[in-house]
């Protein structure tokens, strides 16, 4: 039984990888291969979830043990990130099917659209495999390799739309993520010079300092922040995310940025907690506050729907970082809020990008001022956009509300009220940019010219709504994911303490 559990760990990597290779072999079955891979991935992660409540499990690839071999390990945070990827990935796969068949249905530039679909599936499956491998990896060098795998497939996906703007954006995206990875790798080299090991458990055991650890951690963190688009380093994100195809934007904004954030989070909270100084925490918090304010203001100023959603990603990523100084003070509880917020944001943001993609497909443009009365043509999509917006604003039943509530209450409890003020101002600004779009979508003016409604496929509209509803209802089931996190953490600390 134990053997089965540990070999299940490989499934989230192997299954999408196999599907990606199959997509290259046969063009016609590409969608079905991807869909079954996503379903199998979800089932596998659910099985792992059931098993791992008792404690973390690990798998040694090829039977090689930790100092030399590659170890895949699973615990609370990595399980939740895997679950997030599996659920969002399934929604994106269904939506992408609807998106491409809608575009191919209209014979304008059909060859280009078919080519885009042909390359989308294998790249998406490879990206999924790389992301899952990132969440499962348990040594810092393996993280570098998976980061590069993620950025290669993500840059190729971003360039897929073929427009010059998107290709220039993809080129910059690739260079920026290379710079981030190299900085991270230099940090890894320094860590290896100091400690001589790469495995996370061993590093945790011999943490506590050593000369040069601060420099190593700083290099790694700056690289990862660049890849996560923290405020002053966010310049590459809006053009890359807004110019890509709609399913690709959903992937990039919902999942890819969470990969590098997960590593950063792991390094600061789990592996090297003793090397982190309060000044560094406050600096990260200030950058996060800057991201919240600047991203929201930019989002309010945008004229194009997809750019607005991309800037709102910049601002929402700020919340993840503002939690750093708060979570460090309170030893228990709050760092699960960070993961929880990443979960909710992933579902809501991909739903938002899907909805904007559908609107773009139907109207042929995404100028916000000309979107009046969209709900007449696309009721489900408008509804999905509104629900995702509720989550970004952080209104009560949503997952975003729970996370913001935890942040607020801890900032008040530790009498560091200034972080709480930033959280509240950010929520207010985000309600401005959400309502700016929602009011246009829902208010049908009297003199609205009768638009002909194109035939809609259910795959184009429903995945966005379902993902938005998941993000909304995440608040109601909040105790469960928090329990998973705690279960993972307690056993993780026990294994760390009882280890060599």
């Amino acid at each position: 039984m134990m053997l089965e559990a540990s070999s299940l760990i490989v499934c989230p990597v192997i299954v999408p990888l196999t599907a990606g290779l199959l997509c290259f072999l046969s063009r016609r079955t590409a969608f079905f291969a991807s869909l079954s891979a996503c379903l199998a991935n979800l089932v596998g992660v659910c099985l792992l979830l059931g098993r791992s409540l008792s404690g973390p499990a690990s798998y040694h690839v090829g039977g090689w043990q930790a100092p030399l071999g590659i170890t895949l390990r699973i615990d609370g945070p990595s399980l939740l990130m895997l679950l997030m990827t599996a659920v969002t990935g399934l929604g994106i796969t269904l939506y992408a099917r609807g998106y491409f068949s809608f575009r191919i249905f209209f014979p304008k530039r059909i060859a280009r659209h078919e080519r885009q679909e042909r390359f989308f599936w294998p790249l998406w499956m490879l990206l999924l495999a790389a992301l899952n491998a990132l969440f499962l990896s348990a040594d810092i060098f393996n993280w570098y390799v998976t980061l590069e795998m993620v950025s290669v497939s993500a840059a190729a996906l971003a360039a897929l739309s073929g427009k010059p703007a998107s290709q220039i954006a993809a080129f910059r995206y690739l260079l920026v993520s290379l710079l981030g990875s190299l900085s991270y790798l230099l940090g890894v080299v320094f860590v290896y010079k100091v400690h001589g090991v790469l495995d996370l458990n061993m590093l945790r055991a011999c943490a506590g300092g050593g000369e040069g650890m601060h420099l190593a951690l700083a290099l790694m963190s700056v690289g990862l922040m660049l890849k996560t688009a923290l405020f002053p380093m966010h310049f590459w994100l809006p053009p890359a995310h807004a110019n890509a195809l709609a399913p690709v934007s959903a992937i990039l904004s919902g999942l890819v940025v969470k990969g590098s954030f997960y590593i950063l989070f792991r390094l600061w909270f789990d592996v090297f907690p003793t090397c982190v100084s309060p000044a560094a925490l406050n600096l990260v918090g200030i950058l996060g506050a800057g991201a919240i304010l600047w991203g929201s203001v930019q989002a309010i100023r945008q004229q194009r729907l997809k750019l607005l959603v991309a800037y709102s990603t910049v601002s929402q990523l700020g919340y993840l970082f503002i939690a750093f100084p708060l979570a460090y003070l309170q030893n228990d509880g709050l760092w699960s809020a960070v993961i929880f917020m990443a979960l909710a944001h992933s579902c809501a943001k991909s739903a938002m990008f899907m909805a904007s993609g559908t609107i773009f497909l139907h109207f042929g443009h995404d100028r916000i001022n000309d979107l009046a009365g969209t709900r007449k043509c696309l009721p489900v999509t408008a509804f999905a956009y509104a629900i995702a917006g509720v989550n970004l604003m952080g209104l009560p039943p949503s997952g975003g509300f729970i996370a913001k509530w935890l942040l607020l209450s801890s900032s008040l409890a530790s009498s560091r009220w200034w972080w709480g003020i930033v959280v509240m101002v950010g929520s207010l600004l985000s309600s401005v940019y959400v309502f700016r779009v929602v009011s246009r979508l829902f208010v049908v003016p009297e003199d609205l010219p009768v638009r002909q409604c194109l035939p809609r496929s259910p795959l184009l509209e429903w995945p966005a709504l379902v993902l938005a509803l998941i993000a909304l209802l995440l608040g109601l089931v909040a105790p469960y994911p928090l329990a998973v996190l705690d279960a993972g953490r307690i056993s993780l600390m026990l294994s760390g303490g009882g280890g060599p």
Partner: protein
């Protein structure tokens, strides 16, 4: 001592590449700059394989890491070159050409 020399050389290469990546606007130069940076990191990594405390004993793990890193950097460079060429083909902006003129002027 030689060990330290290699490490310092690696750091120098990394910073030179970083400077070029920021300062040069030409896409090919940017790709080359990233390559120089990764070479610097690999140099430091190879230098760290020498462990003076166990004389004559060389740690093999950094070599494996450098090999992996070289594979990654080759494939990423290929992708970056393809992307630069695609930009040149699809846009009439003369992405590669125009900027080469600009950098020649600045180089003179």
């Amino acid at each position: 001592m030689t060990n330290l020399l290699y490490s310092l050389g690696g750091v120098l290469l990394f910073t030179m590449g970083f400077f070029a990546l920021i300062a040069c606007s030409h896409p090919l130069r940017k790709i080359l700059a990233v390559n120089v940076m990764s070479t610097g990191v690999f140099l430091i990594l190879v230098a760290s394989a020498y462990r003076p405390e166990s004389a004559g004993n060389i740690d093999p793990l950094p070599h494996a890491m450098v090999l992996t890193g070289i594979v990654v950097s080759v494939s990423v460079t290929a992708l970056a070159l393809v992307l630069a060429c695609r930009v040149q083909e699809t846009s009439n902006l003369a992405f590669l050409k125009q900027q080469r003129n600009g950098s020649e002027e600045s180089g003179e």
